[in-house]
């Protein structure tokens, strides 16, 4: 399993049977590989509840896509709806979880994920609506940027997507939980010690990971 698959699999383990889940673009889409598709309802904001697996090449329908514009199928019991209804589901708290990528998360659990450094700010899509309305927000991202700096920061230097804190942050090194009190380390990835996580994390957090399990040597 590569780094991204590891992140996706750990995020998938946080989803509960029966949940309605919206997936962002990138690592989030890989979550589908690690869940039983019959146990979770995937919602896509362009208007489908009950997203099924990608179609066979000869069954491709250009008018049936997910929010990343990838061809998908409908599972039995699926429904189609317009964009206003879709965002009523999202803003109205009817979606149990959203899994989305992030550029930075601050130590209060706030996310920056819509404005890319050095590029004009021309796209927000549904990110802000999902952040404001989903019951649980699961951020999946690599722990550090390409130059090795922590994406878990004390204060976001990039524009925030929402003031609302996320629920969980999953990286290849660890899983953090966010609440009113800030961030808490709740799990280390296999073979990763809490010390390694601390060395690679700029944000301050509490350590709730049981010692002697998971990564501890």
């Amino acid at each position: 399993m590569n780094e991204k698959e590891l992140i996706a699999s750990r995020a998938a383990a946080l989803l509960r049977p029966g949940w309605v889940v919206n997936l962002g673009i990138g690592i989030p889409t890989m979550v589908t590989r690690f869940v039983d598709r019959d146990s979770v309802w995937f919602q896509t904001e362009n208007g489908l509840l009950g997203v099924g697996p990608p179609p066979e090449p000869d069954r491709l329908d250009p008018n049936l896509v997910d929010a990343g514009k990838r061809p998908v199928t409908e599972r039995p019991g699926a429904s189609y709806f317009d964009s206003a209804t879709s965002f009523a589901m999202i803003r109205g708290g009817h979606v149990d979880a959203v899994v989305l990528g992030a550029l930075q998360v601050d130590e209060r659990g706030r996310v920056a994920n819509w404005a890319i450094p050095g590029e004009p700010v021309l796209g927000v899509g549904g990110a802000m609506d999902l952040m404001s309305g989903a019951r649980n927000v699961i951020v999946v991202m690599t722990h550090t940027t390409k130059d090795g700096s922590s994406k878990l920061v004390r204060e976001c230097s990039l524009p925030l997507t929402s003031l609302r804190p996320v629920t969980w942050i999953v990286t290849e090194l660890a899983t953090f939980q966010a609440d009113g009190a800030g961030l808490a380390l709740v799990e280390c990835a296999p073979g990763v010690s809490p010390e390694t996580v601390r060395a690679k994390t700029a944000a301050r957090y509490r350590e709730l990971v049981p010692r002697g399990r998971d990564g501890a040597a």
Binding site: G47, E74, D82, A88, L122, G125, G126, M128, L163
Partner: protein, 231 residues
């Protein structure tokens, strides 16, 4: 809006060509709503007619401005778009370039706020308060109010002079049925413009659509155009 003189007793939309519909309804400087999530559910035949017309200085309300050179991306390339209002323009790099050159103004609105603002425009509402975007760059200049312990932003409604929408089937009255994820913004846009032109795959006789399946009742639709261009 609605039927023209001489059609009394036969209310509903008129089936005409895309060129005729665009020529009749669209003027320079107008605000247009155009359906679609990317190219899915975009009225490609109507956009082609718009691109072939001399119309310019348009404000386009649409989730995106197409892809480079495709659909609304071509409208942009032809220099017809003065302003874009939508949620995601990143999929067409030419949007950033046109903005950089000072030829295009962009107003970015979160997707859920955009779809609801169009719905509000069609429903005759003065706007709504939403928690989406509070405390972000997109809240700048917007009224904030605490409602039920939650900070919310005022979003005003959106309306247009003309809406170009894509549906699957129509009957001769203009009742519309949509298809899978090609529905997206189209049903709201069909309610929120002075003149509504619907591009469809097929037009059947009145009574030929299941009334339970009709998403857009005919009173919203002025013209019908048969699709010639498809994904």
């Amino acid at each position: 809006m609605g039927s023209e003189p001489g059609t009394a007793g036969t209310p509903g939309a008129k089936l005409i060509s895309a060129d005729a519909a665009v020529g009749r309804a669209v003027q320079d400087g107008m605000t247009l709503m155009v359906g679609g999530f990317g190219l899915v559910g975009a009225p490609l035949t109507l956009i082609r007619a718009l691109n072939a017309s001399p119309r310019k200085d348009l404000t386009i309300i649409s989730n995106n401005l197409g892809e480079p050179g495709k659909a609304l991306g071509q409208t942009l390339r032809l220099g017809k778009v003065r302003r874009g209002i939508g949620s995601f323009f990143t999929s067409n790099p030419e949007v950033a370039e046109a903005r950089e050159r000072g030829e295009l103004q962009i107003t970015l609105i979160p997707q859920g706020t955009l779809s609801e603002a169009i719905r509000a425009g069609g429903a005759g509402l003065g706007g709504f308060y939403t928690p989406t975007g509070v405390g972000t760059l997109l809240a700048e200049g917007k009224e904030v109010r605490e409602i039920g312990g939650k900070l919310c932003l005022l979003q005003e409604p959106l309306r247009a002079d003309v809406a170009l929408v894509r549906a699957h089937k129509a009957d001769r009255l203009g009742n519309l049925v949509y298809y899978k994820t090609a529905r997206n913004f189209n049903p709201m846009m069909a309610t929120a413009a002075d003149v509504v032109i619907a591009e469809v795959d097929e037009v059947v006789e009145a009574g030929g659509l299941d009334p339970e399946a009709i998403s857009t009742p005919h009173l919203f639709v002025d013209y019908l155009v048969l699709a010639e261009e498809r994904l």
